[in-house]
Symmetry: C2
């Protein structure tokens, strides 16, 4: 238990940034897992690192995506010198199209694969972003920010860390990182480069916190190959492997195992087909000639000669794998003896959905192999043991844990302290908390407002907390609607009220008591001379609400409509 | 990979039960975790084992509880000889009050603690059930069923397994079970008794599947004591321990640790206070004189002299612990340096809620100890290693895995096969699948309908799939209501339509386009001579639905009301 600066931090706006100081503020990604976006400010200019999306939780129904909150930079768009993308995952690039709506000519710096994935995404938004390719080892000025890029490994190829040099000091931002010492592509995380930078002096180290609570070290990705081999060898029917559609090295190992066992491979799922096409084009995925078949060709092959690589490893209800588990997939119907491998993690919040798929497949007789019963997945994020290597290589003056919920940030900060960073130099700064680096010391100086920005269908931002709270009420209890036309000169109902409920009960007689009750109430309001439609509606809402609470102990939304005639 | 009888099983009703045969059918609890209820039939008479509830998932919004489906026995209530309760957890006793509505004089057989918990629950339902106390080692005829009870250990005291002897053969049902070899109360699972029964010959063994996928053995409950000791010793502020309100042995260890460290204890949460009162009254919980204080007394004590034992370990939003995590608890406000121990499992589906509580507490500066970072929890269910002991002791002819989802059932069946049970004698029979034991061989012979029976507020069964599907639509997208009064002789609107939306958008102008669109459509229907209110409503629904899909790419419920005048 350390003496980190704890608690949520300042609540008031920050002071003006002192001359020669550097300011850092996350508009997403700290205090949550997703929508990573960090803004660096020096000398009146801004540099952004990453711009991703967050996926909604149960209490955000109907929401498709959650964006970083751009309000803090909305008035300063012309001050932005550039956007650096550390890698191509959705939680790092997914919100770029929305930022491009504000800054269409934004200069975007990313590696080859990152830029290719972003270009494909932007195309769906009919955008052609200004993409500038950078690579590890490269040093480049972006405005007054002096950047240097370092190779890092993660669960997607071509990931980068970035050092940001300003007169206020040197920042190193890891992006998402792990330290696989035997990476499939031989591209090590550049610990030597980090050490060199550490010799120079790193004033602020922004470090991936995702797995800070997990002790030890992540197993090398390549150790999964023999496990896949073992699984496939024993099967004489179909094999279906589900994994993330951007996990090129995982897919590579599946392709290699398929090749060794004489199976052709079909990709299933739009994003899998698209991303693996890009990876193959860029030489990041090695596909032997003639290995790939399409789904129709696959159905013509003997079952022992085919392997499917599919999306849906998170139990997404519309994915191919979920449809197979429900017995609803058009081309692939699961039979006893088929084998399904979930070569993937389980993202917190998806457990129920993933277990639903596992149970559905098991019920149909499939053997399901997953990380719970075989080593078919390793994480893309450094565990505690690896983070210690990072801290010891970099020897930072100040540490700012990024990418994670509070428990991850705190655990990461405590690791920094154990390597010798002074507890008061570890700044835990959730979204919106402003960190200023002044004379080599980082501290929390204020807070800007950072809320949730919801994308629902084509619109951004019009769905807010009030709409979500209505959705939660409607989702829990449905509604009861009462409609009546009233003569506003007399307050007299000129129609019989109509009563209807949705999401309330399957029983057609459930609301039979409502009509007489409403008619009695309307007689009362008329007798009292009430002619205001709003007051009449309130009276109806009150009697119906009280009745439903007493009779059913439920709280549907009561929706009275009084039409004036 | 074994050759168990796989696939969901028969779809047609079972044949008549042959003379001298035994029938088994689960009305809940197989293919899911919860609402355990198994019905045994012999010679026209019925014996029920357990009658629990299931807690709803995300796609069952607004539902409070899910009951076993009683339809299969509804016409045969007078054939029921009795209900045996294996232990007092909600998923084994929670639905008893609903069965008692059908059979008020039902004879219920349970251990002392089980019956005490049921009596307390029944009191809330204003019921006084006919409770008959049984204990381990006891043999008792219930109708024609010859029962024998065996001690088992689990995460609640006084749990029982039950052997059911009929002329068709001997059944052994484990209830929930583990094999703690050093139980806190010295009450071992009666493996010796099981072996003796095995010598006699067990024809059908119904076995708890919950942890069949987990290799190895569950650590003894008593090993948690020293861990709690270690945690509490280092803290000089408040300690809050959250665990299940029925886990008497866990609470006992917390009380013992508090005593050793000179802390007084306050129970927080209604069910914790109630259950620990019952346990203490029955001598199952040992509470030193003067140890307990109430919440007010606790606030007057120095922070280093108090410990709270609280409910809320599953992140229940209304629980005391959740309120503390949100900073909303009246008496306990968390400060940096407080320690919270979650001495509990994380039930699948509750991950997001539990992590939300952990993050909230961490954000406020508390140190949170949980099973992810300390050995503060052990499971109440036998792991694979223990299940092997059970199979080897009992040496059953036929095995029927119970209590679990498909993946658990299958894993359990495979363990049975590894101990020598013939694969064709392992019957995986989800809810409703009828298993007949005929001439010593168990097989799946048919299926009775078993659906989800929902409790929402005071009503049982009126909320069904159609209401839930409406709730899901409303919860995702809200609704748009359009109301107009129409003269049914001419088809002419006699009011301007009213348009309102809830759960659709925070933007007050979002629906501005709807009114003119509806008026144009009403003009069209009038011009076409349409006077039928239903057809007019359909036309309105169509244009508004198309508009909202095109404009917003959303699917709110469209609710047109045409009032005839």
């Amino acid at each position: 238990m350390s003496s980190l600066s704890t608690g949520p931090g300042p609540t008031t706006p920050p002071p003006a940034l002192p001359e020669g100081a550097l300011r850092v503020v996350a508009l997403g990604g700290i205090g949550e897992v997703g929508r990573n976006m960090t803004v660096f400010e020096f000398g009146g200019r801004l540099l952004i690192v990453d711009c991703g999306v967050l996926f909604p939780e149960d209490d955000q129904p109907g929401v498709d995506l959650i964006l970083p909150d751009f309000r803090a930079i909305e008035d300063r768009l012309e001050d932005i010198d550039g956007l650096v993308l550390t890698h191509g995952h959705e939680d790092h690039i997914g919100a770029v199209p929305f930022l491009l709506r504000l800054v269409p000519d934004l200069k975007i710096y990313g590696s080859r694969f990152t830029n290719a994935l972003l270009a494909a995404k932007a195309k769906e938004h009919r955008q052609r972003p200004n993409l500038i390719e950078v690579r590890e080892g490269e040093r480049r000025k972006v405005g007054d920010f002096d950047l240097e890029f370092f190779a890092v490994n993660h669960s997607i190829p071509d990931a980068l860390a970035v050092a940001i040099r300003t007169p206020a000091g040197v920042v190193l931002h890891t992006g998402d990182i792990k330290l696989d010492q035997l990476p499939l592509d031989g591209r090590l995380t550049d610990l030597a480069g980090f050490s060199r930078l550490g010799d120079e002096g790193v004033d602020l180290f922004c470090v991936d916190s995702t797995n800070a609570e997990v002790p030890g070290f992540v197993m090398p990705e390549r150790d999964i190959g023999p496990v896949l081999d073992d699984v496939i060898r024993k099967v004489d029917q179909r094999v279906i492997v589900a994994c993330f559609a951007s996990h090129v090295h995982r897919v590579q190992q599946v392709l290699d195992a398929a090749t060794r066992h004489g199976r052709r491979v079909a990709f299933v799922g739009r994003s899998m087909v698209r991303n693996m096409g890009i990876a193959a084009d860029l030489g990041l995925l090695n596909v032997p000639d003639g290995l790939l078949v399409n789904l129709d060709q696959a159905s013509d092959l003997p079952e022992s000669k085919v392997l499917f690589v599919s999306t849906g490893s998170q139990g997404e209800p519309l994915s191919a794998l979920s449809r197979m588990a429900r017995g609803e997939h058009r081309q692939i119907s699961i039979r006893a003896g088929d084998t399904v491998v979930l070569a993937s993690s389980m993202i917190p919040g998806n457990e129920t959905a993933v277990f639903g798929v596992v149970n559905g497949l098991t019920r149909l007789g499939a053997n399901v192999v997953h990380q719970g019963n075989a080593k078919v997945h390793v994480s893309g994020h450094a565990s505690a043991g690896e983070l210690l290597y990072l801290y010891n290589a970099v020897r930072p003056s100040n540490v700012m844990p990024v990418h994670g919920e509070w428990k991850h940030l705190r655990a990461n900060g405590e690791l920094a302290v154990r390597t010798g960073v002074a507890p008061e130099n570890v700044v835990i700064a959730e979204d919106g908390v402003v960190v200023d680096l002044v004379d080599g010391k980082a501290s929390r100086t204020g807070r800007v407002e950072v809320g949730h920005v919801y994308v629902d269908g084509l619109s951004v931002g019009d769905v807010g907390e009030s709409t979500l709270s209505d959705r939660l009420v409607l989702g829990e209890g449905g509604f009861i609607a009462i409609t009546v036309a009233v003569d506003t000169s007399t307050g007299r109902a000129v129609t019989r009220p109509t009563v209807s409920g949705r999401g309330f009960s399957d029983d057609p007689k459930a609301l039979d008591a409502v009509l007489p009750m409403v008619e009695m109430e309307l007689a009362r309001t008329e007798a009292e001379g009430i002619t205001d439609t709003h007051r009449i509606a309130q009276a109806v809402r009150r009697v119906v609400g009280r009745w439903v609470a007493d009779t059913y102990r439920r709280r549907p939304m009561i929706v009275p409509t009084v039409i004036p005639v």
